[in-house]
């Protein structure tokens, strides 16, 4: 489904429940038009992975996900020969000479496709999500380069496997280490940050529509207050949504210091952070209450 303009991409993302800001919509649009991978960076929990999922939903493509971790290697990411099956083939073929067998066992049939090869070889266009690329080693990054610039993978025994359809590639990084220049050069760059008040409010309202407007606004304000503190792990957007739903379940009408103390663990998940937040924000809320007229 070719998209005509940036606005259309934005609308189609919104239609599947992802409210993109201008830069995000534009980069998604460019990624489809220029057929270039996108590198998305930003703090944890601002919807980097969600962007890829939303792209898959909005374009009706299948999502293929490669979760990166330290020590991830080619066998897990690209392909692997199915030794067992090859061995069986050799044993079953008993009488066949070596000539017959060795051409045979290095065949598509004996290849185990891992996510990257899957994405390339897929007959339908897909969205390939390479999640948390910063967790891998530099060697793995280098291996990705061929894939990202030419959309092909070289298998020594088979030759090159080139993409028949162009996948949309999204790489995400939490910025825990600097990625190599070579990788960056091949990608479009998108920095996702925490959304501003209005947009976060929209997002919360989209996912928890029953929450009254005033309460939602108050909640987002408190969340932003919490994010301003120097926390080990600031609350993400997903956690704001969780909190909104919790408030609904609790039937809260306003965020006072009591409600806050009860439900704080939804958004703050570190012992030291909890102390800090209850000290700073809890006190502020209590002060605000004492000012308000009773009843």
């Amino acid at each position: 489904m070719p998209d005509g303009s940036v606005a259309e991409v934005k609308d189609s993302l919104a239609a599947v429940g992802y409210l993109a800001d201008e830069p995000a919509a534009l980069v998604s649009f460019l990624a489809q038009r220029l057929e270039k991978p996108v590198l998305v960076e930003g703090p944890a929990g601002v919807g980097k992975t969600e962007l890829a999922k939303a792209l898959a939903r909005s374009t009706g493509r299948e999502l293929i996900r490669l979760q990166c971790y330290e020590g991830l290697d080619e066998a897990k990411a690209l392909y692997e020969w199915n030794y067992r099956k090859q061995l069986l083939r050799i044993q079953a073929g008993g009488e066949d000479g070596w000539e017959d067998v060795h051409g045979d066992i290095f065949d598509q049939e004996f290849l185990l496709e891992r996510p990257l090869l899957q994405a390339i070889a897929s007959p339908e266009p897909v969205v390939l999500l390479i999640d948390e690329i910063d967790k891998t080693d530099q060697e793995f990054e280098a291996m990705l380069l061929e894939l990202l610039s030419d959309f092909q993978i070289t298998i020594p025994e088979l030759g090159e496997v080139a993409a028949t359809t162009m996948p949309i590639v999204v790489l995400t990084s939490n910025n825990s280490r600097e990625l190599t220049e070579a990788l960056k050069r091949r990608c479009l760059y998108l920095w996702l940050d925490y959304p501003d008040l209005e947009r976060e409010l929209e997002i919360v309202r989209l996912h928890a529509p029953e929450l009254p407007e005033a309460l939602a606004r108050r909640m987002v304000e408190v969340i932003r207050m919490v994010r301003d503190l120097d926390l080990k792990k600031p609350p993400s957007i997903a956690e704001s949504i969780d909190w909104a739903r919790t408030l609904l379940l609790m039937g809260a009408e306003d965020i006072d210091s009591e409600t806050f103390a009860q439900s704080m663990s939804i958004i703050v998940k570190h012992r030291t952070d909890i102390e800090l937040v209850s000290e700073r924000v809890g006190v502020k809320l209590a002060a605000a209450e004492s000012l308000r007229p009773q009843g």
């Binding site: 940036v6 201008e22 830069p23 534009l26 980069v27 649009f29 460019l30 038009r33 220029l34 270039k36 590198l39 960076e41 030794y83 067992r84 061995l87 044993q91 910025n175 825990s176 280490r177 600097e178 220049e181 960056k184 050069r185 091949r186 990608c187 479009l188 760059y189 998108l190 920095w191 120097d230 080990k232 030291t272 952070d273 800090l276």
Partner: protein, 469 residues
């Protein structure tokens, strides 16, 4: 008759057309240290074919997505984008003799300064960009009436801001019992100041029909981090990099060279899957060694400016390493591992260390010799070939005995010993600095007072190439 070109020879304007403009924009980015490759420029052109040029935001985002590949680059990009296209537009205006003096500042004479103040306040509160720009023009006109500008843009901006009584944060309470003024957001105030600056510059350019030469951006982040929390994130990033490197350092080569041990039992069990043929060899897992790190940090007055930075480094180290013991010293040494483990807030840590560290004895001058003696005495049993020692200090002994031979003993016992010195290499060994005596025993000595140096240190330690300065 159009005024003569202020550029002199035509060559400086460059060939006409957007391509040439974009290329010179990229040149400017490069001169500020953004790595813009040819492939990036090609991408930028490809991207621009896809977006309407009439929308400034789309145009800028398309360029940014293809050219600026990190947050830092993005910041520079924004600054330069603004400046470059502002200058280009002004240059064109001068070229074609376009002026708007007659229509400018319309109504500025009639406006009362108090009324203006209220309007500006309102615009800043609402964050209305267009409104702020108009008001900036009005303010300049009103200000121009009150007296002559200084002619220096930066000074005028601050004067106007003060005349309007604008300051960020909480507002002082109103005197005559009027409603309390809402606080002003710092970012919004900065935006207003930017508009003022921009309009003043435009004025100046129009008056003189001359473009001032563009200056390189100020070196904002080369100096010491002024506020510890501000740069804490950068320090943390460099240190978490260091963690990865220290952890894997040397393992690779050693792992390849030293043969692994085959785990016979697990190999046999795995072979059952392949009909008794041992297809897969199973090795005994290698337990990675945890690096043990000892950090000694000078907190005396001679390194006051750097010790905030050092403490934030310590802070970050504690976040990343479990087996880390830290010490601070002036005349004596004191272990502060506990403080870092129990406190999270950086300010509290800094305060506690200064109040209960108990490291100053009488004079408050550093005594390196005594520090080595105490350090060795305290933990000599625990130093082993697995441990890494990092010293943060300026090696100024105040004329006391440096006890380099004791230091050598420390270096001998530890696997590696690094020294980070907050002074430029140029000053080492001048005055009472005895860096040379210690440097001989170190595995590496580095100058270190910015996060950039810290990253450099990490690179060198990891066996990489030092980043260019």
């Amino acid at each position: 008759m159009p005024p003569p070109s202020p550029y002199g020879p035509k060559a400086e304007v460059g060939p006409p057309g957007l391509a040439a403009k974009l290329l010179s924009f990229c040149e400017e980015l490069r001169s500020e240290g953004v790595a813009v490759g040819t492939s990036e420029i090609l991408d930028a052109f490809a991207a621009l074919e896809q977006v309407p040029w009439t929308s400034r935001d789309d145009f800028r985002e398309a360029l940014a997505a293809t050219i600026a590949k990190s947050q830092e680059d993005r910041r520079l990009f924004e600054l330069l984008f603004e400046r470059f296209f502002f200058r280009s537009a002004e240059a064109q205006a001068i070229e074609h003799g376009i002026e708007e003096t007659e229509r400018r500042h319309e109504g500025g004479e009639r406006l009362d300064i108090d009324e203006l103040r209220e309007q500006v306040r309102q615009a800043i509160l609402e964050g209305d960009d267009g409104e702020m720009r108009d008001l900036a023009r009005l303010a300049i006109a009103a200000f121009g009436r009150q007296g002559e500008g200084s002619g220096v843009v930066g000074v005028d901006v601050q004067r106007i801001r003060r005349t309007l009584g604008l300051s960020a944060g909480q507002q002082p309470p109103a005197q005559d019992g009027a409603a309390e003024l809402p606080p002003i957001d710092r970012d919004q105030l900065n935006a207003f100041e930017r508009h003022l600056r921009r309009e003043l510059e435009r004025d100046l350019i129009e008056r003189t029909s001359n473009l001032p030469p563009s200056r390189p951006l100020a070196e904002l982040d080369r100096a010491l981090p002024t506020s510890p929390t501000q740069d804490l994130a950068a320090v943390h990033r460099a240190v978490s990099q260091m963690k990865r490197r220290l952890a894997t350092l040397g393992h690779e080569q050693r792992g390849r060279r030293r043969s692994q041990t085959v785990d016979v039992r697990r190999t046999m069990r795995a072979s059952l899957q392949t009909g008794g043929v041992p297809m897969y060899l199973r090795y005994r897992p290698k337990r990675p060694r945890r690096p043990e790190i000892y950090v000694l940090c000078d907190v005396s007055t001679s390194v006051t400016s750097a010790s905030v930075f050092f403490l934030s480094v310590l802070h970050a180290l504690h976040d990343s390493f479990r087996k880390l013991r830290s010490f601070v010293f002036i005349e004596r040494i004191s272990e502060v591992t506990e403080v870092f483990e129990h406190e999270r807030d950086f300010r509290v840590i800094a305060q506690r260390i200064s109040s209960e560290g108990g490291v100053a004895d009488v004079s408050g001058y550093t005594d390196y010799g005594r520090v080595w003696l105490e350090f060795l005495g305290e933990i000599s049993d625990e130093l082993d070939p697995r441990s890494t020692v990092i010293v943060l200090g300026d090696a100024r002994t105040n004329g006391r005995e440096p006890h380099a031979e004791v230091f050598a003993q420390v270096a001998e016992r530890a696997r590696r010993l690094f020294w980070l010195n907050p002074e430029p290499r140029l000053y080492w060994n001048y005055g009472d600095s005895v860096m040379a005596a210690y440097e001989r025993h170190c595995d590496g000595a580095f100058e270190c007072w910015t996060t950039r140096h810290l990253e450099n240190f990490v690179n060198v330690v990891a066996g990489g190439v030092p980043a260019a300065d």
